[in-house]
């Protein structure tokens, strides 16, 4: 049973959908009005974004239907619009990036939060947060200059899904670290003391008490990092090779990883959008790539909510 919040529930609601709390004088406060306007702006822009993308995609959705996501051949001069190879590229590069970045990010967050000397926390956090704020084009350039030549040893041109994944891993690492560190810090200090008082070693306290306590935050940080990797455009564009129609023969075949590929974002960031002016089907197919990207992101977030489970669990 949830206890009703006296500050919120005592005042009667009125207006459309009971949006307004009547403070008792028949008026709305500035804060309340402003916050409702701001909230509806956020919701409105999301709804209109989806609406507009759907409107743009409509010719492709109706003419191509499910083949948009079930076929892997994209070649606009012959009106072939199958996004599967790009979906594969997006999911593979982002997942590999996360697999590479997550252990490093979580471990370094644990070190900063639990082991690092007090005086070094602030500079460490500062450095990590500074890295998280570096514009992605800078990472992209570093990738072109440093990663491509190294990757040329393994793959034909140096531009590959793996190159993109490595770059993405570096890019999401700071965000991941700082958010995981925040959630470790959010675990009440009392718990640490109590755990130690009960005779747990520092090691055990971290593994048995602090990490489970921060689980929600860690999962949230990981998902945020993953969605960032899904959406990153310019850095990926520079190193992915933009080779269309590359699908593995089986899901376990990792060969395409070290070959050039295409992601949803590298396609959308490329030169095809201006080429599609005046062609509703082509433009629609490109817009549907945007929709697919949003669906993947929303699905990931949803999956994360499920995985996080209830916050009370584990106590």
């Amino acid at each position: 049973m949830t206890v009703p919040d006296p500050l919120r529930r005592e005042t009667p609601l009125y207006g459309p959908f009971g949006l307004f709390h009547d403070p008792g004088w028949g008026t709305i406060s500035f804060t309340q009005f402003g916050s409702i306007v701001a909230a509806s702006l956020a919701l409105g822009s999301f709804v209109s974004l989806i609406g507009f993308l759907t409107y743009l995609s409509w010719p492709a959705l109706t003419q191509k239907g499910v083949t948009l996501i079930t076929t892997g051949v994209w070649y606009y001069p012959r009106e072939k619009f199958g996004a599967l190879a790009m979906i594969y590229g997006t999911i593979t590069s982002a997942s590999v990036a996360l697999i590479l970045a997550a252990p490093v990010g979580i471990l370094s967050a644990i070190w900063i939060a639990e082991y690092a000397p007090r005086w070094s926390r602030l500079p460490l956090k500062g450095a990590v947060e500074f890295l998280a704020g570096v514009p992605s084009i800078v990472f992209g350039l570093m990738g072109v200059i440093t990663l491509r030549p190294v990757m040329q040893e393994f793959s034909g041109g140096g531009d590959s899904l793996m190159t993109a994944a490595l770059l993405l891993a570096i890019m999401i690492l700071p965000t991941l670290t700082t958010l995981v560190e925040d959630s470790l810090q959010a675990v009440p200090g009392d718990l640490r003391t109590q755990a130690r008082a009960l005779g747990l070693s520092r090691e055990e306290a971290i593994r048995k008490v602090i990490l489970p306590g921060a689980r929600r935050g860690i999962v949230a940080a990981t998902l945020l990092a993953l969605t960032r990797a899904f959406g990153e455009t310019i850095a990926v564009y520079l190193v992915v090779g933009r080779a269309d129609n590359r699908l593995p023969e089986s899901l376990l075949n990792l060969q395409p990883l070290i070959e050039s590929g295409q992601t949803l974002t590298s396609k959308l960031g490329g030169s095809e959008v201006p080429m599609a002016y005046g062609d509703p089907l082509h433009m629609g197919a490109l817009a549907s790539l945007g929709l697919i990207l949003i669906v993947i992101t929303v699905f990931t977030t949803f999956l994360g909510q499920m995985m996080m489970g209830s916050p009370e669990k584990g106590s």
């Binding site: 406060s29 606009y76 041109g157 080779a243 201006p274 005046g278 062609d279």
Partner: protein
């Protein structure tokens, strides 16, 4: 006390809100009105044509105070579409208007003005050239760009696996190349390992330069002045090898020659004509030569 705060009621804030809305509306209107201020001529298209036009535009800006903007979004196809949609006044294309363009924009009256002659060269990284590959037949070129020939030793070169930098579909260079390689047949859709797509000329040139066994299609003028890439000759069916040099291009012996075009929808606007006429003038043609392309009149001499 809390009461007096709450009582700053809705009239104040709604009037502020209305003011903000009005401000936004005014800003929006004035922006809309000045989207294409004055007589600015907007130009978009091919990265092959762009350097020439950019230089010409600088001259016209300085000498006549005219206002131009140029960009290369979407290459030739992007430029042609932008003209057809009325987004720009002039499109730049390193290819001719195609059947597909006409089908796509049936109501557009494309007017094409050639301003220079160029060729599409097949360029390879230096180690490929040094390994002994100096010319290819049309069949070999097709097989390479389809991923059927994968090692340079299959065409008389060193033992290096071939990496194909293929121009993106829709690029002018790519479409001219397709016409040469496949004629009126439909080219196969690329899908093989060891290929990547490239966009503009700068990107193509630098990626082939950086690689040790790559091939790509590139504007002839962009192959000069560097020894890190080499333009291959083409072995004709007679067995004769034609290299992409000025003489072979002008005499049309080299098989992948093209014109560089400026494109308008209907008769060009006043300032568009100024640019187009300037490009055809001797001063404009000097700019064409400076960038390594062949001037128009030389074509008349050659044919």
């Amino acid at each position: 006390m809390g009461m007096s705060f709450e009582k700053r009621e809705i009239t104040t804030c709604s009037s502020k809100f209305v003011f903000v809305l009005a401000l936004m509306a005014v800003l929006g209107l004035s922006r809309g009105g000045s989207a294409n201020a004055g007589n600015r001529v907007r130009i978009q298209g091919s990265t092959t044509v762009n350097p020439v036009v950019v230089d010409a535009v600088e001259v016209l800006k300085a000498s006549r105070g005219l206002d131009f903007s140029t960009d290369t979004l979407g290459g030739s196809s992007g430029g042609i579409n932008a003209v057809a949609q009325g987004l720009v006044e002039i499109g730049m294309a390193s290819r001719e208007i195609s059947e597909r363009d006409l089908r796509k924009h049936p109501d557009v009256d494309f007017r094409v003005t050639p301003i220079a002659i160029d060729a599409v060269a097949l360029v390879v990284s230096a180690p490929v050239w040094d390994g002994g590959v100096h010319a290819l037949t049309r069949d070999q070129i097709r097989a390479i760009f389809e991923g059927k020939i994968t090692n340079w030793n299959e065409v008389g070169g060193a033992d290096l696996s071939i990496f194909v930098y293929d121009k993106e579909p829709g690029r002018g260079t790519r479409e001219v190349f397709e016409k040469f390689a496949y004629g009126s047949d439909e080219p196969p859709i690329p899908d093989f390992a060891h290929y990547a797509q490239v966009g503009g000329n700068e990107e193509t040139r630098s990626k082939v330069q950086d690689h040790d066994s790559a091939i790509s299609q590139l504007s002839f003028a962009w192959t000069e002045g560097t020894d890190k890439i080499h333009a291959l000759g083409i072995r004709l069916e007679s067995g004769e090898i034609v290299r992409p040099d000025r003489k072979a291009i002008l005499s049309n012996q080299y098989p992948i020659v093209r014109r560089l075009n400026l494109i308008t929808d209907g008769p060009p606007c006043t300032n568009c004509s100024v640019l187009i006429d300037f490009m055809k003038s001797s001063e404009g043609q000097d700019i064409v030569k400076k960038h390594g392309y062949l001037p128009l009149d030389s074509a008349d001499d050659g044919s």
